[in-house]
Chain length 462, copies 2
């Protein structure tokens, strides 16, 4: 009784799918500090021009360069698994499948875009990448990619994670990356913060500021900045997940998919699985596509669609997205990768268009789901992924009630071997449920009250 | 350019290979306290009779029961990789392959025997398994297996590892296993030690004593003990590694293998890859089969072939093996899985027969190899595995000098994501080379001076 569906290497997708080409309403452009759309040239000190062009592209299919394919083939195509043992435990007539992105050497889906970004930067003559990392997943993935391609990599890691998760730093160093606690003495932004708050635990906002400053202030012009989620080109690179999954579902004999599920923080793993299915949906298929976020950080389910900065320090342009406000302080839940105030513009727009259904879920249900998954399917998953599993279980139970043979597919975005402290906290009874109080949300949104709304007019191209 | 060679699920081997059937000199039996061969019945309180029969079997091929195949198929066949990027970095004409056992949910080869042992125990009506674990790899694997099969699992974990590696405990608990610091108050053996040395860091010897006592003292008769290496049936279950690898090498177009390499602690991952190739060697093939151990714990390279206990507390029968002496105190190297005083009797006998070549290697060369592997092949490997990688690199360099197109295969026994403290110590310059001083070896061997030698006479069956 087979549980794994492999795709042959020669059948790996050779193009990425760009949802921007198919959205009923065109994507709105990012805005500069003056409220006007920014030009590609304004981004040139931050990103290489080949990626800026990709960020703006309206082409539906974009060829994956052969050298990137070769990099991806080191661990791809990733297996699709049939969750037969979970199904049995639930007694559901649903057939549950999961795409296993934990098989990459860095343990998550993040290397899909990390190797692509590193390659495009190298092509453009760049020698060095900077980035920030919170929990460490993205910093590890970019260090891994730079190691394979031959770029230097400098990662600004939020101080508190740097201290609490020393092994993430070790992973980056093993791949030759440099990992620095943020705020640091290396940038003006870091020095300013340290002068005022020498004992600060740091924040993603500060780390982003430092990483961007470190990139743009390199006078040789050979350093650029790299981001692991949110932006269009990042989501584009992740669509190989869903494109592979669709081929594997055909191999598994499935003619129709009913429910597609991904957890959503910045949006990249969700988009990776979901966007190719949104394409089907736009073409008439009847599919529920669920983006699952923590109730403590309810960006898609409760925040407005508005122009906002991607970082607390307002270094980035204003992006059209669902946002809790760039000054939002995420509560201390254990899914570090889902604690982001904004949501990728493409995912936000898809939600506004009604192409996907946002859902939020509490922490304890997620861990309960992760424990059941470990004891049936055998794999210990990342806390982020547990949001997708919990929703898949809800859907499978509903299918049981309705006695329906639903086909459910979710993205197993990463393993949890570097996040076992969360499991320990759960088993020790130290975790609790937390839904963002309305007054906290209101207060956070106050800071972006004057920001321009995102019009839904069918205008605006970059 | 493909780097992964998959085996289709339907081509998974359906029999294990038993080297005992093919050794020129028959294996000698274990001896009881009186110096006489022990009977199967004497082992019955410790192991279920179906595994005792397997331990004694002289059959060359043993069918893998269908339910065990189904368990193995959750992650097997494991991929064979061609190490093209490592080859390129070395500029070697050798073709290097590695069997990737890190893909199991527990992250190593250990689940291959864990699921088999759990299944045989369940078949025999057993409800509960006990075991010991040092670094935590085996305890995790058995907890994983018991979770899938529906057995209780109690793991006695050496106190110092229990405190230093809390995440291993969390892994076991996530799979429903119970993990107890050893020495504990749960057994007489543990209480005796605690009364004398309340602050003891524990040892594998004490933990084995506790696990065996906890099994044999259960008056319901429904508890048995399980061991993760050394014994014949454990090595038997691991031979699926080499049997798969041989099929995959044929798919890769290799007509001849020149060198087979595995790291050797108790012997199980080495045997798993190597034994099926020893079969070829016995039948005339020209293959170098290298068992690589740390110079700090040189069981095969410097210890005598003698009857000795498997544990410090002398709870086990006398086994015919290479042994540094059961009271040997391993030095603090970072490859916890290779710090064992003895070597599996089957591996020991193969060494005595000249079928395999033991090699020892220093710690720094191993970590240097692991770093190169991470930065070329992309994977962070277990410190144990680094011994095999270091030897593969030596062989590849030699092939370069000789301008020979050698085919080298090694076993990537596990990933290193739970062992990053070793990498950190290496990169911080805190590790050093250490070869066991002769006087320490002599002193350790003093304690087993009166033990019977293992005769090489062609006699003795159980």
């Amino acid at each position: 009784m087979s549980t794994k569906i492999f795709l042959n290497e020669q059948d790996i997708p050779r193009q990425w799918y760009n949802l921007a080409a198919d959205l009923p309403t065109p994507m709105q452009p990012p805005l500069g500090p003056d409220g006007n759309p920014i030009s590609p040239e304004m981004l040139a000190p931050v990103f290489p021009m080949n990626l800026i062009e990709q960020e703006m592209s309206q082409e539906r299919w974009i060829d994956i360069p052969e050298p990137i394919l070769e990099l991806l083939l080191r661990w791809r195509p990733s297996p699709l698994h049939r969750a037969r043992y979970l199904e049995k435990a639930l007694g559901t007539p649903a057939r549950i499948y999961y795409k296993n992105e934990s098989v990459s050497p860095a343990g998550s889906h993040k290397p899909n875009t990390a190797v692509a970004q590193a390659w495009y930067n190298k092509q453009f003559g760049i020698k060095r990448l900077t980035t920030e990392t919170g929990a460490g997943q993205w910093g590890s993935a970019l260090s891994f990619a730079c190691s394979l391609i031959g770029l230097e990599c400098k990662v600004f890691m939020v101080r508190i994670s740097f201290d609490q998760k020393p092994f993430r730093k070790t992973m980056m160093q093993t791949w030759g990356g440099q990992c620095i606690a943020s705020p640091s003495e290396e940038t003006q932004a870091g020095r300013d913060v340290l002068a005022k708050y020498p004992d600060t635990p740091g924040s993603l906002g500060i780390a982003i500021s430092e990483a961007i400053e470190a990139a743009v202030s390199d006078e040789s012009g050979q350093t650029r900045y790299s981001l692991g989620s949110v932006l269009n080109h990042v989501l584009l690179h992740q669509t190989i997940i869903g494109l592979e999954a669709k081929k594997q579902l055909v191999i598994a004999g499935e003619k129709k998919v009913d429910v597609v599920i991904g957890c959503a923080g910045g949006g990249s793993n969700f988009a990776g699985l979901a966007f190719p299915f949104i394409n089907d949906k736009i073409n008439g298929a009847d599919i529920d596509i669920l983006a699952v976020e923590p109730a403590s950080c309810p960006t898609l389910t409760r925040a407005p669609f508005i122009y906002d900065h991607g970082d607390i320090a307002k270094m980035t342009p204003l992006l059209p997205m669902h946002s809790l406000g760039h000054a939002f302080v995420p509560p201390p839940i254990h899914a570090g990768g889902l604690r982001y105030h904004g949501m990728a513009p493409l995912v936000s727009q898809a939600a506004v268009e009604g192409l996907i259904t946002p859902e939020s879920i509490m922490q304890l249900e997620c861990y309960e789901a992760a424990m059941l998954f470990a004891q049936t399917e055998g794999m210990i998953i990342a806390p982020e992924t547990s949001h997708a599993v919990a929703m898949a279980i809800r859907q499978a139970k509903q299918a049981k009630e309705e006695a329906k043979e639903k086909v459910i597919v979710f993205n197993l975005s990463g393993h949890g071997l570097m996040d076992l402290n969360g499991y320990d906290a759960y088993m020790s009874g130290k975790l609790f449920n937390y839904s963002l109080p309305q007054e906290d949300l209101d207060k956070s949104l106050e800071a972006i009250k004057g920001h321009p709304p995102v019009t839904a007019a069918k205008t605006g191209k970059w």
